[in-house]
C-alpha cells in the first residue's frame, strides 16, 4: 500500500471518529459511540502495524518512512511542512499509542456506560489519539508542537470532562496552563534551534548538532544549549517534572481511563520522547543533560515520598507516574536513551494496566477512591486483582517482569555512564525502594488484608469489555520486558535471547559512553537494587497486613515530616502564595492604578487642559454687554495702533 495513504488513514481515522462522535455529541448511545471510536483507533492500530512491518523489511541503516503532505507554514526560508516520519523511535510510540489506546477505548465502553455524554467523551479521546500521533509522527519540531499543544488541549477537555464540578474544571485549567508554561519553553527552544541551524527537521537537526558538537564543547550561552534548556522546560511541563509536576496529581479529576491513557501511558511521556528524538542535539549539550538527570532523579525521589503517604488510589498512581517519569528523565539525562524508551514502553503497559485496574476498582466501589475504605477486594474482583498484581510486580521491578529490565537498565547507565554519577544511582535505588513500598501498600490496602468496604457497597467484577484490556495489558506487563533483555542477563539465559529493542533502536539514537562495563559490577548493582526493593516490599507487607500499627507509630514519630509529605511539600500552596496570587494582585493593581487611574487619567488631564482653556475664553463671553463693548473698543484701539505704527 501507498505510504501516504497509510499515514493518512492512520491519522485521519481518529479524526473521523472525533467528527462522528463530536457532531452527535448529545447522543447517549454509549455502545455506538464507543464502537465507532474503538474501530477508528483499531484502524489506526492496523495501519501502525503495517507501517512497522514495512519498516522491519527495510535495510537497517535507513529505516524511516517519510511522508510529505503539504507545506504548512512556509515563510522566507522557514519551512514547517505537514510531513511525517515513522522510524525506529516513532514506530514504538505509534504501536504503544494505538495499541494501548485501543485497549483503553474498549475499557471505556464499559466504564462510561453510566455517563450522560459518552459521545463527547469518545470524541475527545479520539481527538487525543490524533494529536498524540501528530506529536510522535511529526517530521519537524513544529508538527510535534502541534501535537504537543493538541494533547494538552485534549487533556484539558478530558480532565474537566465532568465540568459541573468546580474543582475538576479548575484541575483541567491548571493542567492546561502549566502545560502552556512548558509550551512557551518549547516554542523558545524551536526558535533557538531555528536561529542556530535554520531548520527544524529532526534528521537535519540531529546531524547538524553532531557536527557542531564535534568542534568542541559548547558554552552555556550557546543557542544550542539554551535551546536544550528551553525544550527541557517544555518537557518538564508535559511530563510533569519538578517544578511543573503539580498539574498531574490534580489531573486525576478526569475519568480513570483518561488517566490511564493520557496521564500514564502516552501524553506524559511526550517529554521523554521529544528528548529521545533530539538525542543527538542533547548529546551536544552535556551540561543540560546533567540538569535533566538531576531533575529526573529528584522528581523520582520526591514523587515517591509523596506517593507513600497518599490515601487516594488515583493520587498514589499519579505520584507513581511522576516518579517513573523521573526515572525516564534520569535515563535520558545520563544518555541512556534506549533504556528510557524501553522504560517508557513498559511503563505504558503496567501503568495503564494499574490505572485501568484502579478504574475497575473505582467503578466497582461506586466512585470511591479512598483506599482506606477498600480491602480484600481480591475475592470480589479476581481478574482485576490478578492483573493488578502483575502490574505491581512489574513496577516494583521483580526480576523477570518488564519493569525490572527497563528500570535496572536505567540504573545501570546512571552508575556507569560518563554522564551519570553514583549519587544519582543512590537516589534512583532509594526511589525504587520507595516505589516498592507504596505499591505494596496499595496492594495490601486494596486487594489483600481485611475488608473495610463500607456497608451498602457491593464490589463486583467488571464486565468483559473492561477485563479484557486488563488481561491483555497484564500479559504485556510481563512479557513486554523480554524484548529488551540486557546483555549481562541474556548471557546466562538459555538460548541467549537477543536485546531486540536495543538492536532496533541503536541506529536512531545517540548513546552515552560507559565508564565501566564490568559484568560483576553490573550484577552486584542489580543485586543491591533488587534486595532494596525486596526489603521495602516486605516491610510494607508487614506494616499493612501483619502489624497494622506500624504506620501509626511512624507517623507519630515524625509528625511534621509526615504532614509535610502528606501535603505534597506544600508546593501548590507555595505556587499560589508566591506566584499566582501576587500575579493577580499585580494585575489588579495594574488595572486600578495604572490603567484606570494613570493612563486613562492622563487622557482626562489632557482633555481637562483643553477644557480649561475653553473655559478661560468662555469666561470672556460673560453676557455683559459693556464687556463686549469694551472688546470692541480694545479691538479698535489695537487695529488703530497697528495702522498708525506701521
Amino acid at each position: 500500500m501507498n505510504d501516504s495513504f497509510l499515514f493518512a488513514v492512520l491519522l485521519l481515522a481518529p479524526i473521523f471518529g472525533f467528527l462522528f462522535n463530536g457532531l452527535r455529541f448529545k447522543n447517549k448511545n454509549y455502545k455506538l459511540a464507543g464502537a465507532v471510536a474503538s474501530v477508528a483507533i483499531g484502524v489506526s492500530f492496523i495501519c501502525s502495524v503495517v507501517l512497522v512491518i514495512k519498516l522491519v523489511a527495510m535495510p537497517e541503516a535507513s529505516r524511516a518512512i517519510h511522508v510529505h503532505f503539504y507545506n504548512w507554514i512556509e515563510v522566507a526560508g522557514f519551512n514547517a511542512n505537514a510531513a511525517f516520519v515513522v522510524d525506529q523511535i516513532s514506530a514504538i510510540m505509534i504501536l504503544v499509542i494505538t495499541g494501548v489506546g485501543l485497549l483503553i477505548h474498549i475499557f471505556s465502553i464499559g466504564y462510561m456506560s453510566h455517563d450522560d455524554r459518552p459521545s463527547k467523551y469518545f470524541a475527545y479521546l479520539n481527538l487525543f489519539i490524533f494529536n498524540m500521533l501528530l506529536l510522535v509522527l511529526g517530521d519537524n519540531l513544529l508538527i510535534m508542537f502541534v501535537g504537543w499543544e493538541g494533547v494538552g488541549l485534549c487533556s484539558y477537555l478530558l480532565i474537566g470532562f465532568w465540568f459541573t464540578d468546580q474543582e475538576k474544571a479548575a484541575a483541567g485549567m491548571k493542567a492546561f496552563i502549566v502545560n502552556r508554561i512548558g509550551d512557551a519553553g518549547f516554542l523558545l527552544g524551536i526558535f533557538f534551534l531555528y536561529v542556530q541551524f535554520s531548520t527544524i527537521e529532526f534528521s537535519s537537526l540531529n546531524t547538524l548538532a553532531t557536527d557542531l558538537a564535534a568542534s568542541g564543547p559548547l558554552g552555556w550561552s550557546h543557542p544550542l544549549v539554551l535551546a536544550c534548556i528551553c525544550l527541557f522546560v517544555g518537557a518538564c511541563g508535559k511530563s510533569a517534572q519538578i517544578p511543573l509536576y503539580v498539574w498531574l496529581p490534580d489531573a486525576m479529576a478526569g475519568p480513570t481511563p483518561v488517566s490511564a491513557l493520557i496521564h500514564a501511558a502516552t501524553m506524559v511521556t511526550a517529554g521523554v520522547y521529544m528528548i529521545v528524538r533530539l538525542s543527538f542535539v542533547y548529546m551536544a549539550a552535556p551540561q543540560v543533560m546533567t540538569i535533566i538527570a538531576v531533575v529526573g532523579g529528584l522528581t523520582a525521589f520526591f514523587a515517591a515520598t509523596i506517593g507513600m503517604t497518599q490515601w487516594d488510589i488515583k493520587k498514589i498512581l499519579a505520584y507513581s507516574t511522576v516518579s517513573q517519569l523521573g526515572y525516564m528523565f534520569l535515563g535520558v539525562g545520563v544518555g541512556a536513551f534506549m533504556p528510557a524508551m524501553f522504560h517508557l514502553m513498559t511503563h505504558a503497559f503496567f501503568k495503564a494496566l494499574m490505572f485501568l485496574g484502579s478504574g475497575s476498582v473505582i467503578h466497582a466501589m461506586g466512585e470511591e477512591q479512598d483506599i482506606r475504605k477498600m480491602g480484600a477486594l481480591k475475592k470480589a474482583m479476581p481478574i482485576t486483582s490478578a492483573t493488578f498484581t502483575l502490574g505491581w510486580l512489574a513496577i516494583i521491578g521483580v526480576p523477570g517482569f518488564s519493569g525490572f529490565f527497563s528500570k535496572d537498565e536505567i540504573l545501570w547507565f546512571t552508575y556507569a555512564s560518563t554522564q551519570g554519577s553514583k549519587w544519582l544511582w543512590v537516589v534512583g535505588v532509594l526511589g525504587a525502594g520507595m516505589t516498592a513500598f507504596y505499591m505494596t501498600r496499595l496492594m495490601c490496602l486494596v486487594f489483600w488484608g481485611k475488608s473495610r468496604v463500607p456497608e451498602g457497597t457491593h464490589p463486583h467484577e467488571s464486565p468483559a469489555s473492561m477485563t479484557f484490556p486488563l488481561i491483555v495489558l497484564g500479559v504485556l506487563s510481563v512479557v513486554g520486558g523480554w524484548i529488551g533483555i540486557p546483555h549481562v542477563i541474556s548471557a546466562i539465559l538459555p538460548g541467549h535471547p537477543p536485546n531486540i529493542l536495543g538492536h532496533w533502536l541503536e541506529p536512531a539514537l545517540a548513546t552515552a559512553n560507559l565508564i565501566t562495563t564490568s559484568a560483576v559490577v553490573e550484577w552486584s548493582l542489580m543485586g543491591i537494587s533488587v534486595s532494596v526493593v525486596a526489603i521495602s516490599g516486605y516491610f510494607a507487607y508487614t506494616a499493612y497486613i501483619v502489624k497494622t500499627d506500624i504506620p501509626e507509630k511512624c507517623v507519630k514519630a515524625f509528625p511534621r515530616l509526615h504532614g509535610l509529605v502528606l501535603n505534597k511539600y506544600l508546593i501548590d500552596e507555595l505556587y499560589f502564595g508566591r506566584i499566582i496570587n501576587p500575579l493577580i494582585d499585580i494585575s489588579k493593581g495594574l488595572w486600578v492604578y495604572v490603567d484606570v487611574n494613570f493612563v486613562d487619567k492622563l487622557t482626562y488631564i489632557a482633555s481637562d487642559f483643553v477644557k480649561s482653556i475653553g473655559r478661560l475664553f468662555g469666561s470672556l463671553q460673560n453676557g455683559n454687554l459693556q464687556q463686549y463693548a469694551m472688546y470692541i473698543a480694545i479691538g479698535v484701539v489695537v487695529m488703530l495702533s497697528f495702522i498708525l505704527m506701521g
Partner: protein
C-alpha cells in the same frame, strides 16, 4: 468601471437602497443579501489577483484636486487584499450579529454599517495619502453613530472618547501628509499626495536626533496609527468603546477598524521612513511587548466579559505591532496573518458575548457558571473561538503568533522571551473566563434560566459557522492565505531602503499618461 471602485462604493449604493426601502421589515434580509453579494464581488478580486506580483494591481487613478496633486487613486497589493476581504466577510456577519440585538432604527443602523464598509475598504485601497486620510477619518462618523445610538448605558461618553481620541492622532497624520506634499513639491517639482510619489522622496534623517524631518514625520504617522491600533499606552478608549458599543459595532471595531492602524503602520511608516523605523522601531517593539503582557494581565482581572475581550485585543494587537517592527519576512507575514485571524476570532468572541448577553442581559463573569449545561452548542462555539484566540495550533491564531514570535526572536531574543509569556497569560485569562462562565455549578444567572432553552438558534449557528470554518481553514492551510501576501512582503523586506511600488497590468499605461499630462498642465 474599475473593480476596486465597485468594491469600494457598492456599499454606498446599498446604503441608498436600504434607505429608500419602502418597508422597514425588509431591511434586515435585504441588507444581508446585499452584503453577501458584496462579499462575492470582492471574491472576484481574490480570483483575479496576481499573486506573483508585488506591485499595485487593479489601479485606478483620476485627478481630483489637480493644483495640489491630489488624485483619486485606488490600488491593491498583497498587503491590503486580505483586509478588504476581511471587511466584506465581516459585514454580513455583523448584520447577522445585529439581527436581534438591534431593535431600534434598523434602517439607520444598516445604512451606517454599509457606509462604514465603504470607508474601511477605501482606507485599505486608497493609494493617495489625502484620499486615505479622508476615508480614515470618515470611518469614524458611522462608527460614532453606531456606538452613540445603538450603544449601552454610557454610550455617548464612549462614542465621544473614541471619536476625539482617534481624531487627535489623525491631526498629526494630516500635518505629516501636508509636510510630505510640500516636500514632494520641492523634490519632484510638483505637489503630489500619491503614495508612490511619497516613496520616492528623500527625507532628511539625522541618526540619534529626534528633531529631524524623517523622525518627526515618522512619529506623526505612528502616533495616529498607534492610537488606532491601539498600542499601549493609547489603549484606554478601546475598553470603553467596546463595552458600550452594540455587538455588531464591537465586531467591526475589533475586526476591522483596529487593523486600519496596523495597516497604516505597514503602508506608511515602514516604507516611507526606513531609517527612522530602524532607529526608533525598538520603541514600538517594546510597546508591543508591554502591550502584550499588560493587556493580558489586565484582562485577567476584568469582571466584565466584553472588557476582558477588549483587553485581550490590546494584547493581540501588541503582537501585530511587534511583528511589524521586526522588519523581517516572518514578522511581517505573521503580522498580516494575525490581523486577519484576530479580526475573525475576536470578532467571533464579541459576537458570542453579545449572543449570551441578549439572553441574560448581564456580562458579569461572576454571575455566570455552568452555562455549558444549558447551552452546549454555544459552549462548543465559544471554546473553539477561545482556542483560536489563545493560539492553539491548527487554529488561525497560532500561525500568526508563531511567525511573529519567531520574527521577533530573530531580531531581539529578550523581547521574544518576554512576549512568549503572553502565550501563557493568554491561556490564563481566556480559560479563567471559560471556567467561570461555562463550568462549575450553575451560577446566579443560570439558575434563573434553568429549564429554559438558552442555546443558540439556527440564525446564530449560521452566523458562527463560517467563522469557525475559517478558523480551521486558516489554521490548517495558512499557505492559502500567505501566498497572496508573500510577494509584497518579500518586496518590502528586500527594498527596505528606497521602497517603491510598481503599477501592474493594463492600467499602467493609462495611469502614466494621465500622470504626465497633469504634470504638463501645471
Amino acid at each position: 468601471m474599475n473593480l476596486l471602485s465597485v468594491i469600494t462604493f457598492l456599499p454606498i449604493l446599498f446604503a441608498l437602497v436600504v434607505w429608500f426601502l419602502p418597508n422597514e421589515k425588509h431591511v434586515r434580509p435585504v441588507s444581508l443579501g446585499l452584503s453577501i453579494v458584496h462579499f462575492f464581488v470582492s471574491i472576484v478580486l481574490l480570483v483575479k489577483f496576481d499573486i506573483s506580483s508585488a506591485g499595485l494591481q487593479f489601479v485606478e487613478q483620476t485627478p481630483w484636486v489637480q493644483s495640489a496633486g491630489i488624485s483619486y487613486f485606488l490600488g491593491v497589493d498583497g498587503i491590503s487584499i486580505w483586509l478588504v476581504i476581511l471587511t466584506t466577510f465581516l459585514t454580513p456577519i455583523t448584520i447577522l450579529g445585529g439581527w436581534t440585538s438591534i431593535q431600534k432604527k434598523t434602517r439607520g443602523f444598516h445604512v451606517s454599517i454599509f457606509v462604514l464598509a465603504t470607508t474601511m475598504i477605501g482606507t485599505f485601497l486608497a493609494m493617495d495619502a489625502i484620499l486615505f486620510y479622508v476615508f480614515f477619518e470618515a470611518s469614524l462618523i458611522p462608527m460614532y453613530f453606531i456606538i452613540g445610538i445603538w450603544g449601552g448605558k454610557n454610550k455617548i461618553y464612549a462614542a465621544t472618547k473614541f471619536f476625539i481620541y482617534t481624531m487627535l492622532g489623525s491631526v498629526f497624520m494630516l500635518l505629516s501628509i501636508i509636510t510630505l506634499m510640500v516636500l514632494a513639491e520641492g523634490q519632484l517639482g510638483q505637489m503630489s499626495s500619491s503614495l508612490l510619489d511619497f516613496y520616492k522622496l528623500d527625507l532628511n534623517f539625522l541618526p540619534g536626533q529626534f528633531l529631524s524631518t524623517q523622525t518627526l514625520l515618522f512619529f506623526g504617522f505612528a502616533l495616529a496609527f498607534a492610537i488606532k491600533v491601539p498600542l499601549f499606552p493609547f489603549h484606554t478608549w478601546l475598553p470603553d468603546a467596546h463595552v458600550q458599543a452594540p455587538t455588531p459595532g464591537s465586531v467591526i471595531l475589533a475586526g476591522v477598524m483596529l487593523k486600519m492602524g496596523t495597516y497604516g503602520l505597514l503602508r506608511f511608516c515602514l516604507p516611507l521612513f526606513p531609517e527612522a523605523t530602524a532607529e526608533w522601531g525598538w520603541i514600538f517593539l517594546a510597546l508591543g511587548v508591554v502591550g502584550i503582557i499588560y493587556g493580558a494581565l489586565v484582562a485577567m482581572v476584568q469582571p466584565d466579559m466584553k472588557k476582558l475581550v477588549a483587553y485581550s485585543s490590546v494584547s493581540h494587537m501588541g503582537y501585530v505591532v511587534m511583528g511589524l517592527f521586526t522588519l523581517n519576512a516572518h514578522g511581517l507575514t505573521g503580522s498580516i496573518f494575525q490581523m486577519l485571524s484576530h479580526g475573525i476570532s475576536t470578532g467571533a468572541l464579541f459576537l458570542l458575548v453579545g449572543m449570551i448577553y441578549e439572553r441574560t442581559h448581564s456580562r458579569e463573569i461572576k454571575e455566570y457558571g455552568g452555562l455549558a449545561v444549558v447551552a452546549p452548542i454555544f459552549s462548543i462555539f465559544f471554546i473553539i473561538v477561545t482556542l483560536s484566540s489563545i493560539a492553539v495550533p491548527m487554529t488561525n491564531g497560532f500561525v500568526g503568533e508563531y511567525l511573529i514570535l519567531m520574527g521577533t526572536f530573530m531580531v531581539n531574543k529578550a523581547y521574544a522571551i518576554l512576549a512568549v509569556t503572553g502565550v501563557v497569560l493568554g491561556a490564563c485569562y481566556m480559560l479563567w473566563m471559560v471556567k467561570k462562565v461555562f463550568f462549575g455549578p450553575p451560577g446566579k444567572l443560570i439558575k434563573d434560566f434553568q429549564g429554559k432553552n438558552l442555546d443558540l438558534n439556527k440564525t446564530e449557528v449560521m452566523t458562527l459557522l463560517p467563522v469557525v470554518v475559517l478558523i480551521f481553514w486558516m489554521g490548517l492551510f495558512p499557505g492559502h492565505f500567505i501566498k497572496y501576501t508573500k510577494a509584497s512582503v518579500d518586496h518590502m523586506i528586500n527594498a527596505k531602503q528606497g521602497y517603491y511600488l510598481k503599477i501592474e497590468g493594463r492600467q499602467k499605461k493609462v495611469a502614466t499618461i494621465k500622470y504626465k499630462s497633469t504634470r504638463v498642465t501645471r
